[in-house]
Structures are given as structure tokens and as C-alpha cells.
């Protein structure tokens, strides 16, 4: 039933819109600051620092990155590899575990579900995990150190997919498939997965985001710069800009000699680091919001 808005309500709606606009601005302003800083000239940065209103602009930082792009490109490659392999593996083993747990007639369902659930409540802490991956499995300075520890499967996601299977795939469908002689793998891959794309997309998105944004595994296990992902490169450069300077202090782009534009290139790198997220997120916003809501209602 729609009724005419009272004056009070019109005022409230207007005030809401204004306040929300300001919030949106606050959310976005820091990104603007680094974007503008990344194209500020060195001269402007020396006199005014990072500013929304630089005195002059320059693309030196991006040109320099193109010229000295090897380190950056390599870290991008590492991050893409880790994100892709980690997310795909996770999207295979997470539903594979969730499916038996969703089957009431699976003998070990109770024990396994408890183990998955308890892993969310209690842990052995960072120290034993570190010693196990670094010493027992010798993962230090291998690409697997960025993929395997912590992120490969998260108990919460298993329960999320399990609940989705239980609520959204009719039992009759599974029974019908069994009567037709389908084995468990066929039921899983031909019935469960196709009927669960929304939850798979949600889990995939959160997992992909976790891998792309992860720097803690790198902090613990990687000291070899050849295995730096984007985030770890960013840490290294925030602390020591000279790391980018692989050979000479100056770089030649065409005929122009560009010396390392330290202050602007930092911010250009931050922009490069979030670019993939900015590109992908608008497509996935729906799944993101749905994921938060179903996750909050019941784990």
C-alpha cells in the first residue's frame, strides 16, 4: 500500500540521502587520494605532499613501472597463479566434503560435521602451524606456501555449502538419480553442483578475495623476492622504495630518462594492486551481499 509521504518523512528521506552521499564520499576519498597522488609530479609531491589538488601532473610513475615492469609483472603472475590454483582447488574439495555431510544416511556424518565445526571454535595457534608447514612440510620459499596453509578450505564455507545442499536440493532428486543407477560422483557433479551455483559463486568469491589479498602467508614463509605476490611487493616497497630499482637509478623510456619517482610510484602500485578487485567486484556484488546475509543467519 503506497501512501503519500508526510512532510516529516520527505525531510527524513532527503536527510538520509545527503548523509549517505557524504558517507559514500568518505568511503571513496582515500582511493581518490592515492589515484591523484599516483599521477602527481615529483615537484608537486615535494612541495605539497600527497594532495587532492596537486600543482602539476605527470605519468612518470606509470612510465617507470612500464620500463621496470619485470618485478611488478612477476608479482602479478605469482598472485594470479596462487589465486587461480587456490580458488579452484578450494571449490573442488569444499563441496566434495559438504555433499557427504549433507546426506543424512552417511555413516560418518556426525563425526565429520563435528570436526569441521570444532575447527572454527578452537585452534592450536600460529606457532605450531608455522613449525609444521615450515619444518615438517618444508614449504618455506615454495609457491605452495602461498596456496596450502590456512586458505585452501575453510570450515565455515563447508557448512555454508552443506546447508545450501540440504535446503535447496530436493531429496527426491537424489533418490531418483540413485534409482537410475547414478553413482555418488555423478550425483555430486551432475545434480548437486549445477543446482548450487549461487553458493558456489559466493564461496568462490570470498576464497578468491582471500587469496588475492593475502600477505600473511608470504610474511611467514616467503623471503625469496622471486616468489613475491602483489601484496608482499607492496609491503616491501612501502618500507623500501629502492627495491623497485633493479639495476640503474634511472630508467629510459623512449628518449626520456626518468629517475625513480618514489612517492608517486608507491601510490601507482597501490592502484595496480586493487585494480583487479575494482574490475571484478561490480559483477559479483550481488553474490557478495548474499554471502554475508546467509553467512550471518546461520553458519
Amino acid at each position: 500500500m503506497k501512501s503519500i509521504l508526510s512532510k516529516d518523512e520527505r525531510m527524513f528521506a532527503m536527510a538520509s540521502a545527503i548523509i549517505l552521499g557524504i558517507f559514500a564520499l568518505i568511503s571513496f576519498a582515500p582511493f581518490m587520494l592515492i589515484a591523484i597522488s599516483s599521477i602527481s609530479s615529483t615537484k608537486s609531491l615535494v612541495t605539497k605532499g600527497y594532495s587532492f589538488f596537486p600543482s602539476s601532473l605527470s605519468l612518470d610513475s606509470y612510465l617507470y613501472m612500464l620500463a621496470q615492469g619485470k618485478i611488478i609483472l612477476r608479482s602479478y603472475g605469482v598472485s594470479f597463479f596462487v589465486t587461480t590454483v587456490g580458488t579452484i582447488t578450494s571449490l573442488i574439495i569444499t563441496p566434495m566434503l559438504a555433499y557427504p555431510l549433507s546426506r543424512k544416511d552417511f555413516k560418518l556424518r556426525g563425526l565429520f560435521t563435528f570436526l569441521v565445526f570444532f575447527s572454527l571454535l578452537f585452534n592450536g595457534g600460529v606457532v605450531p602451524s608455522y613449525i609444521m608447514w615450515a619444518r615438517l612440510f618444508s614449504l618455506k620459499n615454495t609457491i605452495w606456501a602461498l596456496i596450502i596453509p590456512t586458505y585452501l578450505m575453510y570450515g565455515f564455507n563447508v557448512l555454508l555449502v552443506k546447508n545450501y545442499f540440504e535446503r535447496n536440493v530436493p531429496k527426491d532428486l537424489i533418490e531418483a538419480a540413485q534409482i537410475d543407477g547414478a553413482n555418488e560422483w555423478t550425483i555430486f557433479s551432475k545434480v548437486m553442483i549445477p543446482l548450487s551455483t549461487p553458493v558456489i559463486a559466493t564461496v568462490g568469491m570470498f576464497t578468491g578475495l582471500a587469496y588475492w589479498n593475502d600477505w600473511i602467508n608470504g610474511l611467514y614463509y616467503i623471503s625469496d623476492p622471486a616468489l613475491y605476490g602483489v601484496q608482499q611487493l607492496l609491503i616491501r616497497i612501502l618500507n623500501n622504495i629502492a627495491f623497485l630499482r633493479s639495476s640503474a637509478a634511472a630508467s629510459i623510456v623512449g628518449n626520456i630518462v626518468i629517475s625513480l619517482p618514489g612517492d608517486s610510484i608507491r601510490m601507482a602500485l597501490a592502484i595496480i594492486g586493487i585494480l583487479p578487485i575494482l574490475i571484478v567486484f561490480p559483477l559479483l556484488q550481488k553474490y557478495f551481499i548474499r554471502g554475508i546475509v546467509i553467512g550471518a543467519v546461520k553458519g
Binding site: 516529516d8 555413516k107 565429520f112 570436526l115 585452534n123 600460529v126 585452501l152 597501490a270 551481499i289 546475509v293
Partner: protein, 308 residues
């Protein structure tokens, strides 16, 4: 029916399902359960040459030593107080944002606004540390270079002044998490029966009264439950926020050291594994007790929302 045969049948029946579950379960056992055995490290004087099992037992002396240092008090205080501030102020902001968002859901730009509020939540703490650096660093930061001179405020070197960081970290937390946290409240508000508001309007209730007497009371169960679950996480902190955003600055430890940063520094930088593992076990156990306590209370209030 012969029970033995039915057991064998059920094993045969469950076997394909077990095979499907196996990769995930093996990973879970290795990644989550095997390290739990490592809790014994906290009760030993670790010597890599002898191995964990061969190292001598020292009882509770690692814990005694940990709690005799001022670090134990500082990191516990910081962890709990930051969490408390984040929970209380974060909840107020999240609900406020959700109530306002609910007013404009019909507007075409609502989706874009929501996207902007979520954006800070999608970036890593490393990028957040860049944003904070752009605002605060003494040489080129926006505040020291542009804002303070204009306001004639004295120069502040933020990265060596611990007193400012509780506020800075609170702002960063709110900036990063409010949009995300508001989604849950927004979906709760959207679930409230519209006819209640219609009835209130007919009785002449204004917007404020509707919020005060309808929206907030109906959100109360959600608020309490999310609050209790946050209590269960009180011993844990966002490592990136306290380590990376502060740029691991030693001058700031008095207000930025949390249990997580202490464990990391003990393990990776100071090579003090005994203290690190004692602090880790302290965190895990108190944290576990808090989760159980929180769940107990949730169960009392609303059994449907209890975790177990």
C-alpha cells in the same frame, strides 16, 4: 535382519561418500587438528636439535615468565579494549547506516552507494596501510603537509606518537567495516513487516518515533546475538590492522601491541618461541572459553540462533 550384514552393507554404501569427503577431511586434519598437538610446545623448552617431542618439559614456567613481563598486561588490555570499542561503536555505525540505507533502497543509486561502502572491505590491509600512509606520513602525508599548516597545528609525527593510534585505528576500522557490517542489519530491517509501520503512521508516529519504537526494538535480537558472537572473538585481533597499518613501528607498541602481533614478533622476529607459543595457547584457551560462554548466553536468549 543380520546386524553384521547390515553393518557391512552400510559400509559399502557409505564408502563412495567417504571417498568424496576424504580430500577435505585430510586437509582439515593437517591444517587444523595436527597443530593442536603443538600446544605442548608452550609447556616445553623448545630445542630444535632435540625436536619437539625430545625437548624437556618445563611445566607452566613459560606462562609464569610471560605473565611476569609487562607485555602480557599491555597486549591483553589492548586486545580487549580495541575489541570493545570496535564492537560498541562499530555496531552503532552499522545500524545507523542500515537505517539510512533502508530509506533510499528504492532510489536507483542505492546499489552504487552500497558498492562504495563495501569497497574498503575488499582491499587488503596492505593497501589500507598505503592509504593511511598517504594521510599520515611526516614527509608527504596529507595531514602533516596540507591540513595542519592550514590550521596552524603543530607538526605531529604519527608513526612515533602512540597516543593517536587508538583513534586512528578506530577510524580505519569503521571505514573498512561499517559498510560490510550494515548489510546484516539492512537485511533484518527489510524483513520487518511493513504493516507495523503503516499502523504507526496512521496513529501519527513520525520517522524518529518509528525508528525508536519499531525498528530498534525489532533489531534487538540481531544486535544481541551479533554482540555475543563478537564477545567470543574478544581475544583475537585483526593482525594486519595492528601490524601493517602501524608499519610495525616499535615506538607504537604501547598502544598497538595485541596478542596476535606479540605472537608474530616472538616467533618471527625475536626468536622467542616459548613466549610466542605460551601467548598463543593463552589466546586459544581464553578465546574458547569466551565462545562457549557467548554461545551459552545466546542459547538462553534465543535457542534458534545458538551455534551448538
Amino acid at each position: 535382519m543380520n546386524p553384521k550384514r547390515s553393518f557391512l552393507q552400510s559400509v559399502k554404501y557409505s564408502l563412495p561418500l567417504l571417498v568424496l569427503a576424504l580430500p577435505g577431511m585430510i586437509y582439515l586434519i593437517i591444517n587444523n587438528y595436527f597443530p593442536m598437538l603443538g600446544i605442548i610446545i608452550a609447556f616445553k623448552k623448545l630445542n630444535y636439535a632435540k625436536g619437539i617431542l625430545g625437548s624437556p618439559w618445563v611445566g607452566l614456567s613459560n606462562f609464569k615468565f610471560l605473565f611476569s613481563t609487562p607485555d602480557a598486561w599491555v597486549m591483553t588490555r589492548n586486545t580487549l579494549l580495541y575489541n570493545l570499542a570496535f564492537i560498541v561503536i562499530g555496531t552503532i555505525f552499522a545500524i545507523g547506516l542500515a537505517i539510512l540505507m533502508n530509506e533510499i533502497t528504492s532510489f536507483f543509486y542505492a546499489k552504487y552507494f552500497q558498492g562504495m561502502y563495501l569497497l574498503p572491505n575488499l582491499i587488503s590491509m596492505v593497501v589500507v596501510s598505503y592509504l593511511v600512509f598517504a594521510f599520515l606520513n611526516a614527509d608527504t602525508g596529507l595531514l602533516p603537509k596540507s591540513v595542519f599548516p592550514a590550521l596552524k597545528v603543530q607538526d605531529i609525527n604519527f608513526y612515533t606518537s602512540p597516543g593517536y593510534w587508538p583513534l586512528i585505528l578506530l577510524i580505519v576500522f569503521l571505514w573498512k567495516n561499517t559498510g560490510y557490517a550494515s548489510i546484516i542489519y539492512l537485511s533484518s530491517i527489510a524483513g520487518i513487516d511493513r504493516t507495523i509501520y503503516e499502523a504507526a503512521r496512521i496513529d501519527g508516529a513520525g520517522k524518529w518515533q518509528q525508528i525508536r519504537y519499531i525498528t530498534l526494538p525489532l533489531l534487538k535480537p540481531t544486535i544481541i546475538i551479533l554482540f555475543l558472537f563478537s564477545i567470543g572473538r574478544m581475544m583475537y585481533s585483526d593482525f594486519g590492522l595492528f601490524y601493517q597499518v602501524t608499519m610495525n613501528s616499535g615506538a607504537l607498541y604501547s598502544t598497538t601491541q595485541t596478542i596476535d602481533t606479540y605472537v608474530f614478533r616472538g616467533l618471527m622476529q625475536l626468536n622467542n618461541i616459548s613466549m610466542a607459543s605460551a601467548a598463543g595457547v593463552y589466546q586459544s584457551f581464553i578465546g574458547f572459553i569466551l565462545v562457549l560462554g557467548a554461545n551459552f548466553l545466546v542459547k538462553k536468549i534465543n535457542p534458534e540462533n545458538a551455534l551448538f
